[in-house]
Symmetry: C2
Subunit: 433 residues, 2 copies
């Protein structure tokens, strides 16, 4: 038996904020209500289908704990604690069993990155999890330059073989492999390619979950409903877990169209935050995050503390905001209440990310940034971060510890992340209709 004698020594970000009252109360209520919460989730899964997998970026300000992004094509499985691989495998077995018990073969389709070692390690880790869950797995690439099986040796010693896709009628596979399930780890930012359309096989997540159709505002509208129900269940102010937001459409940053709408809505959201900060005695400056309503990878993102700031963007800022990943133009913009992240590791800012397979929380890690402020987006392009795997899993709350001790803080993270995941399932139902 492995005994860890000094778990206390393990690095865990510290919450450094003067104002912990509301969050401690939130964490205490989550802890006390655990049986009701788990029962409530079980009931939700009777009526709703969780996404195949997901990751949720959280922000913890000491007075508020909220999701700020929900990814339905999660990268970063390589950043999870290897000790919890068995959890991923068990959750994957349950997911596969539920969706397609007859499944034997899975075709995994990743993003078109062949040089991003971290991303490739994520793909290799997904292959491992699927294999350990007893599936046959091959990786099919959408890249035109992959014309034959290509084995990449990764810097961590793993290897990954990308193969060219082969479509026969309405079935997709790779050479000598006819899978039952197509698993996307590609967020389809520039639309679903024809080769993925009208397939006989089950495609997970569905094509409609791609960023070419998904809107953050729809996600957060669904989350708003979920958060309201949940807050009633455990008796809290929903604002403690739900960021305000609004949306501006038909923006054109290059041509400076829509700036007034944006500035007005920024001020409106800031005012709503200010009211809440006054109610709770929060001394920090309210801020909002302005970002593309569709899209990922933190491109096209700004921190704004006053509406006037979006009227005075210089050319460089406008260029940065105008396009997201794969050069897609931005026309719809989300204005989201900024949530300070007051978790710190040494002097670096840390943001928790929680991973789920089906309805199960399987782990998480902190994005630790040494060069970013407490009010900045931590998932921006080019911003490097150190992943710090959660030491413990998110399913072992301990009523004998303080509500903000790690097992209980992780449990609260897992609960809020699952609320965002439930919101995503509402979102997917809406697009499936």
């Amino acid at each position: 038996m492995v005994t860890l004698t000094s778990r206390v020594d393990i690095m865990v970000p510290r919450l450094t904020t003067a104002l912990k009252g509301p969050l401690l109360d939130l964490e205490q209520r989550i802890l006390t209500a655990q049986p009701s919460i788990e029962h409530w989730f079980r009931r939700q899964w009777l009526d709703h289908t969780p996404p195949f997998y997901s990751s949720v970026d959280l922000r913890n300000s000491g007075f508020k704990l909220a999701p700020v992004d929900t990814n339905l094509f999660p990268g970063g499985f390589n950043n999870l604690n290897p000790d919890f691989l068995p959890l991923c495998v068990l959750a994957m077995q349950a997911a596969v069993e539920k969706i397609c018990p007859e499944a034997r073969g899975v075709l995994l389709i990743p993003e078109n990155h062949t040089r991003n070692q971290f991303y490739l390690q994520n793909v290799a880790q997904l292959v491992t999890i699927l294999k350990q869950a007893g599936m046959r797995v091959r990786v099919g690439s959408l890249l035109p330059e992959i014309t034959e099986p290509t084995t990449l040796t990764l810097t961590n010693g793993q290897s990954l073989t990308l193969e060219p896709l082969v479509r026969s009628g309405n079935r997709l596979g790779v050479a000598d492999f006819d899978p039952c399930v197509i698993l996307l780890n590609n967020d389809l930012s520039s639309g679903a390619p024809d080769i993925l359309k009208n397939l006989e096989q089950t495609v997970l997540p569905p094509l409609a979950a791609g960023w070419h159709t998904r809107r953050k505002s729809q996600h957060f509208a669904a989350y708003h409903r979920v958060a309201a129900q949940f807050s009633e269940l455990i008796g809290i102010d929903p604002w403690l877990i739900d960021p305000h937001f609004d949306v501006c459409s038909q923006i054109n940053f290059h041509e400076r169209i829509g700036e007034e709408c944006l500035a007005a809505k920024v001020d409106d959201v800031l005012q709503k935050i200010r009211t809440k900060y006054t109610e709770y005695g929060v001394k920090n400056d309210p801020f909002v995050i302005v970002k593309a309503d569709a899209g990922t990878y933190g491109m096209g993102i700004m921190t704004v503390k006053d509406g006037s700031e979006v009227r005075d963007l210089n050319r460089k800022q406008r260029n940065k905001m105008a396009v997201i990943k794969e050069g897609q133009p931005v026309s719809d913009v989300l204005i989201q209440e900024g949530v300070y992240t007051f978790e710190n590791l040494n002097d670096a800012v840390a943001e928790p990310v929680v991973y789920m397979i089906d309805r199960y929380v399987v782990g998480g890690f902190y994005r630790v940034h040494t060069d970013r402020g407490v009010d900045e987006n931590l998932n921006a392009p080019g911003s490097s971060f150190e992943p710090l795997a959660f030491d413990a899993c998110c399913t072992l709350p301990n009523p004998d510890c303080a509500p903000d001790d790690m097992p209980n803080r992780f449990y609260a993270y897992g609960v809020v992340a699952r609320l965002a995941m439930l919101a995503a399932s509402f979102e997917l139902e809406a697009v499936a209709e």
Copy 2:
């Protein structure tokens, strides 16, 4: 992140036998066939319901890996590696969800031991797992002397509160607690008490799974069918995983009735083993285990190498064989092929026990005995053993390691244990009809 730099140093029993050929081949085939095996199990669970929980005692002789006992009311959850508690919690969530998603309250009914610290720690661990899975849990005792809530402080520092059962009409609970599910951790050796009969609530495992109705011979007959199918799937001789057995009924050890039948069947089973040993070049002496067909706890168990031995039992041996737990008389006797256990830790004999919740393997441990031989039952009353938790879980086979390296040996254990668990589900279906 917790990094274990020297997993190699961890104590693991060594397989010390000259003849590993057949088992290496078995382990290799299990490893190679992993996707087919997992697919086959998934298909089985479409048609069959796994027991709520189970544990399976295995014996590993180097040339044969087989289950020798399947427990549907497993004790020993306290012996599992605490690092794998999250796995138990996740599997418990899946089990509860499937059986009764509306469940909030579970009443756990343990065995009537109040002084066996190890058993009480097992009950406390089950309470922990159920609570972490989000259930409200209370422990109701069948003991008449428990007339009010009684808190026991366990030697490991945990505490456990036993409460008197309260039956109102056809509902069972404890004071101010009306559970949805009654979870038995009591094997009902002396029959199902009236207070458990005709309940409105779901009782798990069902009363018919108790040792008052269950027969080992029915289990091993079901296992024989399962092993045959599985062996065809992966192309092995079923004998490598399936012990021969036979049964004698209407034995009376006190009155020396049935001795001839027993002696003849012992010799018959020994002859079958001898034929196989010759086929595989095994040099060891064949032996059989004679034990009560109903019952548990290893009472009424003998190692026999010749039919004449059961004709010449002295009074003490006959008394020992005549009764099992709770003084129940033995009339039906199982004659089971003995499987040598050639796993050794230092000089002690080690026998693996695998634990499952629903259809998921959640861990296991070795029973390590310093004072027992390789051909003796290791779960005998009064025999003390040291539990050695499996260091790794049973779901992470690694094709890059040798077939008998620990991850792969554990995977093979998990597979054979699940075969026995599947046999138990056939058994439970038969009694439910």
